[in-house]
């Protein structure tokens, strides 16, 4: 079912049992290290790591299929556009030109350009699984607790967690409303022209917005009545105390980040790895 998209499902494994704070920090460290470095060897290393974590977390493919499709489309688009707008950027960075073949002067395909673009794709590809792991294996309330612990205001953190928590409810509402409107003759299938379909979808969104507003009023009353926002701080029932594994993972994440910086500074002398000189 669609509504499973952002549903948090509780499992018992290494990744799930880590504290949300650890996962958030690890995610930031790993992402930063691949964003900083343009060394394809190091990026491949992180990519392998992130796939390993993905396996350990036991996330099922079904859960992320829709997301993966969007990501793939985005990456492909990004790849094409980069080539379209700056086909010689690789040459510029690496300072050499190894021509493969040429159509015209501007769109000559060079090894440098290919290396540059492949590196860039891999950067995204290694960061995204980590993001998914973080989103799907962290209990939204625990996530809020982690955000709060690294300094985000608890009200903002809670608002975010509630959004995540009510997302499945909203999808359910959407499905119900959509069915009722279809029974009034609204056609949402591909048979209808795109313009009409967009208009028809609007007819679902209006009631959806009103139902959601009702929901918000109710929940905010319920929260007020139970003292939300009374103090500057609050404690978290879902917060996990940090364990040995948490410290190990954080240490490891920090090492990966440090490694990325070290490779750039000491090995390559710049953020780029240049095999062409």
């Amino acid at each position: 079912m669609k509504s499973k998209l952002f549903d948090y499902i509780d499992r018992d494994n290494f990744v799930y049992n880590l504290s949300g704070l650890t996962k958030l920090l690890a995610f930031v460290c790993f992402t930063f290290s691949v964003m900083f470095s343009y060394d394809i060897r190091y990026i491949l290393f992180v990519l392998v790591l992130s796939f390993c974590f993905f396996r350990i977390s036991e996330i099922s493919f079904r859960q992320i299929r829709t997301m993966l499709i969007y990501v793939a489309v985005f990456l492909l688009l990004n790849f094409c556009l980069t080539y379209l707008f700056s086909p010689q950027y690789g040459t510029e960075i690496y300072g050499t030109t190894h021509e493969l073949f040429r159509f015209n002067g501007r769109y000559t395909v060079t090894l440098e350009q290919i290396l540059y673009q492949v590196t860039k794709i891999l950067k995204y590809a290694s960061g995204i699984p980590l993001g998914m792991i973080f989103l799907l294996t962290t209990n939204p309330s625990e996530f809020a607790a982690s955000m709060n612990r690294i300094g985000v205001s608890y009200k903002a953190a809670y608002a975010l967690a509630l959004t995540l928590r009510y997302f499945p409810d909203m999808i359910r509402d959407y499905q119900d409303i959509s069915l009722a409107q279809q029974s009034r003759g609204l056609d949402l299938s591909k048979k209808e022209k795109l313009g009409t379909r967009v208009k028809n979808i609007m007819n679902i969104f209006v009631p959806l917005i009103f139902t959601t507003l009702d929901r918000i009023e109710l929940i905010s009353n319920a929260m007020d009545l139970r003292g939300f926002g009374k103090h500057k701080k609050r404690t978290w029932y879902a917060g996990k105390p940090l364990g040995r594994n948490d410290y190990l993972v954080m240490l490891f994440a920090a090492a990966v980040l440090a490694g990325s910086i070290c490779v750039s500074v000491f090995v390559n002398g710049s953020r780029f790895y240049n095999p062409f000189v």
Partner: protein, 579 residues
Amino acid sequence: MGINEKEKTPVIEFKDFGFQYFSQAEPTLHDINLTINKGEKVLLVGPSGSGKSTLGHCLNGLIPFSYKGEISGSLKIMGQETKEMDIFRLSKMVGTVLQDSDGQFIGLTVGEDVAFALENDCVGLEKMRETVQRVTDIVDMGQLLKSSPYELSGGQKQRVSFAGVMVDDVDILLFDEPLANLDPATGKTAIDLIDRVWRDQEKTVIIIEHRLEDVLYRDVDRVIVVSDGRITADMSPDDLMAADILPSLGIREPLYVTALKYAGIKVTPEMHAGRLDTLDLDRIREPLLLWNRSQVKKERPAERTAILSADHISFQYTKKRKILQDISFSIREGEMVSIVGTNGAGKSTLAKVICGFVKEDEGTLYYSGEDMSDWTIKERSVKIGYVMQNPNQMICKPMIYDEVALGLRIRGVPEEEIEPKVDKALKICGLSPFKKWPVSALSFGQKKRVTIASVLVMEPQILILDEPTAGQDYHHYTEIMEFLKSLNSQGVTIIMITHDMHLMLEYTPHAIVISGGKKIGDASAVDILTDEDIAERANLKVTSLYELAVKTGIDDPSAFVQNFIDYERGTRHNEVEAV
């Protein structure tokens, strides 16, 4: 009652209290003078719009914290003026269990939700776990701390919200319509639980509810009747039953009391009619038996041809759990049928299968003998209209006219043909004066009628309504149901999904009972609601009329219930004609 004999310490004192919302031209509450003592259990009743919810909001601080307005007079809680307190301090004295236990479920698990108030008080994790465990044990939810709200039944969710306010160790518990979303049997358990906590924990309990009979099933010290923003009555249940003020206010009195009145019995405080258990049977037996004998059996109308029938329908979302199993039934043209059962029994799924939103795995549906298997949602919608429970989930146009016309416009009906059809639908639904109005100007009940009009405009032969009277007081309930009845008499077959027993009993001669995905009953509503076995399996409650009949030794209790219904239909019919 032990509580009354104790010395009286006032915990809530209204003195010449009044309130006016800034958004409204008139005050909602006037001259409220009311004292509630420590340890009392008080029921607050009143029709919708009477101000009873506003009174509740004043007690828990939502007024003036969330709903702004002008307060006059004084309201003291535990001796302190509420105007000088904030909602947080008030919430330590008055714990509120809101009506919709689904929407107020804040946490992701039971434990977390119960802990919410503690978290906001910066209680440490250890202490928090301990308190949560203790409080959830009181409401029998201690084993389910890790469950998510989706795994809980309506009754369980309510227990969780109950525990959520009890963690604060409040002295006053306020229940805002605790029965609104519960099936009858679960409602009974909820009232039992409230009663238990009231006795064991020595709390002051205030219940706002319009389902009077269900609350009075357990002891209540006083009933306070609110109407038009004023307190009209403040007396014991026994006195209230004798006072004869409820019907004129549009509040339904317990059915057994109505039965006594039909039998010409003058109810007096000495009869202790506040609860069926305490009712003095000796005084009423003779006249009741006499009345019962004098009732003439009505002729049942001849049966017509089947318009919708199901032949061994089964449906499942996943392999593991069958939602519907082998369901067969036959609904005749012009019938009014209720489909009843617990939450999650499969009754909504059955409606979805009929409308074609989901496809049955096995079995066949027939419309007037024609196999519907190949019919799309759109094709079915020509014959079968579906009205959702919450009108806000259906209305998508700002203007009433456009909303009702939507279905026809989508079908490409020319505009000049649309107008007469819309006019007709609006007229049937009593909305003609509002033709050019925006939807936002309507009340909830009127919006419901707009959604019915927007389905009726397509002239379906069958109308399926999901909980048509949910959240309505007796007055609006009667209004909606009489309207559906009149539609029905114009030939539309009406199927209602409900767990309202009054509705079933009074309006639908035919009831289909679903439990655990199977059909466990298919008979007249009277037969179902006097069958203790079916009632128990479907989480229904045997009607108090039946119990009254059994207690007074009437030979055929079912026939007595039928007599009551026939008599009531007769009187109501006369009333309507007189108007």
